[in-house]
Subunit: 92 residues, 5 copies
């Protein structure tokens, strides 16, 4: 999984069957200092509750579909958790 | 999923079994400002309706096959939705 | 899928079970101007007919195995079509 | 698989169903000299025993879920082994 | 698949269930001139016979597990063949 921050929303005018009810968020990947790094992805919100600006972790593979209400859908990025805090080991 | 723009079409002279009826579009990946970034991919059009210049989101993995009429095909990029608009959160 | 050009052949002295009869070609990925970009991959030839120098499109994931005669094999790049021509949209 | 080092822990405030009991560690990928290279990933600990600073190898794909107690979960990075030592061949 | 060269071995002190008997080799990816390029991966040896310094081709996805004695394991890089020679097409 990767760490990211929710920075926006995608509103679709049409989509393939199976994506009904899948909320699409724009997630900015973060580096180890939790700074933006790389290009944003469009992720399904597996939690149905990730809010703007929230720090999340997300999957980027076929496994993403398992986080959707209907698991047999063409989704390959999904938010699977909201981060309370990151604990970096001293000296690691 | 990633955001992209349809910039062309691929016409095949021959292909493996199962790709009959799969429309192949060239999709240019976009960055967060919706500017071109990286190399284009050849994506199946899961919607059968994505037009030239349209802003779309697409999957880039095994899940892509799920967006095709016949889901048991060697396709790993597929357009799964057309974007109406992207809402970027203020201050995010 | 990605666009590529066949630039060579790999001859194996030994391989895992299931790869009998799979022709292995070296495919150079291409950018949007159809110029070489990035490192070549070793792709199974799902068509059994892709020739030297030909412009092809290929899959790079688990889906690749679906293009092989025996689909339950460890192959993750496969040529799935030969390109007749690429039509780039004017102004796109 | 890739070589990495455990550098921290992620504590979630909420997560999708199925991630109960999955310990999430921050793993820094390493290069061939075992120096940090690239951005850390959030990996499930398939061993339930990887400790801070430990040298591990991890998978980064759908296969990661197979290392979890419940294999049908949206996890795409998982630690699958702890390295005792790496033997680099002389002259290779 | 990608071309690589075996440059070392990983000895694990512990690993997840299912990796018993899987020999782990360090494989250096190669570019089209067969020169080292990018970071090494830890690959299962599907052949049980790849030796030090040998030129191999390997898969880097879920398909890798299909090359293992037990195919339901968390392995995502596997050597699937040893290269006898690479034939680059003149003028390609």
């Amino acid at each position: 999984m990767k760490l990211g921050r929710v920075i926006g929303t995608v509103v679709a005018s049409t989509h393939v069957e199976g994506l009904e009810g899948v909320k699409l968020l724009i997630v900015q990947p973060l580096d180890k200092k939790l700074e933006p790094k790389g290009e944003p992805v469009v992720a399904g919100d597996g939690l149905q509750m990730a809010g703007h600006g929230e720090l999340v972790y997300y999957v980027s593979s076929r496994e993403a579909a398992l986080a959707m209400p209907n698991t047999f859908v063409p989704v390959d990025d999904a938010i699977v958790g909201i981060v309370d805090h990151v604990h970096e080991d001293p000296g690691a």
